[in-house]
Symmetry: C3
Subunit: 141 residues, 3 copies
């Protein structure tokens, strides 16, 4: 486990067409947040949803516009100190049908998205590449 203190709570609006994962990363960097939790609501032009199995993510494309019915995750850093966003998402179409998965690149913001990050202070939350799973699990004491 890694236990920090809660720092700032930051609100951002992501504009149309921005890549959601990239957009979250950019905002965390701009606010100098290297550890924290996040939520997003809004909409997407299209969603790319990952499903992990046997060492890789299979991805599903969902055509939009879709609502970001839920998006949550965390902010950490990698081996080189670069910010990594790990987020999972549920999107929904015009009929309300819901689809979910690991938020992947090329999920572009629709009319807009609203991001909230709660900062964790006084800790280093790092991800280290793991050969077995091909993932970067959180390094915890």
């Amino acid at each position: 486990m890694v236990e920090g203190n809660v720092g700032r709570i930051c609100f951002y609006r992501l504009p149309e067409n921005e890549d959601l994962t990239e957009g979250i990363k950019k905002r965390a960097e701009k606010s100098n947040i290297k550890a924290g939790m996040l939520i997003v609501i809004g909409s997407l032009k299209e969603a790319v949803l990952g499903h992990y199995k046997d060492g890789r993510y299979k991805s599903v494309h969902i055509d939009g516009p879709v609502e970001i019915a839920s998006c949550m995750g965390n902010v950490a850093i990698d081996e080189n100190g670069e910010v990594i966003i790990h987020a999972h998402v549920v999107v929904s179409n015009e009929e309300g049908e819901a689809f979910g998965g690991h938020l992947m690149k090329d999920s572009h913001v629709g009319v807009m998205a609203e991001l909230v990050i709660i900062e964790a202070k006084g800790i280093i939350l790092q991800r280290i590449f793991d050969e077995k799973t091909k993932l970067r699990p959180l390094k915890l004491s």
Copy 2:
């Protein structure tokens, strides 16, 4: 972006039949919270899910009882200083099938709902009406 400090964390129970959006708003007002993030779990008698397209929300009605599998959002104020709740929701029926969207009026609480709000202090988080999208995006510096 708007960066505040985290204030209180407040827990509420919403009773059967209360309108969920109205109920969240009333609790935020009662606790004098004008900026923050929120989550809700519980159940709904019925859900009204919005899907934004071309300047308006189309809505889908889901008959309940449904579980509130996920509900997240933020608290802000409008041009007149009145509290506005923006929340998105995922609900699920007896078969576990999930439906999602923008939380709209007339989504009434089922047996109960549990709301958590984390307050943002020292900031003004305001929504201003936008003619182009017909939405009230967050006004951010």
Copy 3:
């Protein structure tokens, strides 16, 4: 309502095969957190989703591996001071299809799960058994 101050923000990794509800409870106890909110992302080997109706939870089994597309809830204590986790979950399969409900026992972690708990300090958040609903609603002033 119960209003506390925000304390620590704690990050945990739950390993493969751990029961998710039990795992969250164990982490909260280890960190001595008796009130708070939580989110989880990751994956599950299988999910058991509850749907409340007429005084009981009907459960649906979803075979995995499934992504934990969303998981949120709260930490409280029961009549005896023991930690109770109340969480709802949305999971998604290889096609991205989403299923949701009340997180029940026997939902086992897949490759891993990442848990974040935000602690509420200075309050007692207690659940008391209610004969009518057969649930343990939050006891709020």
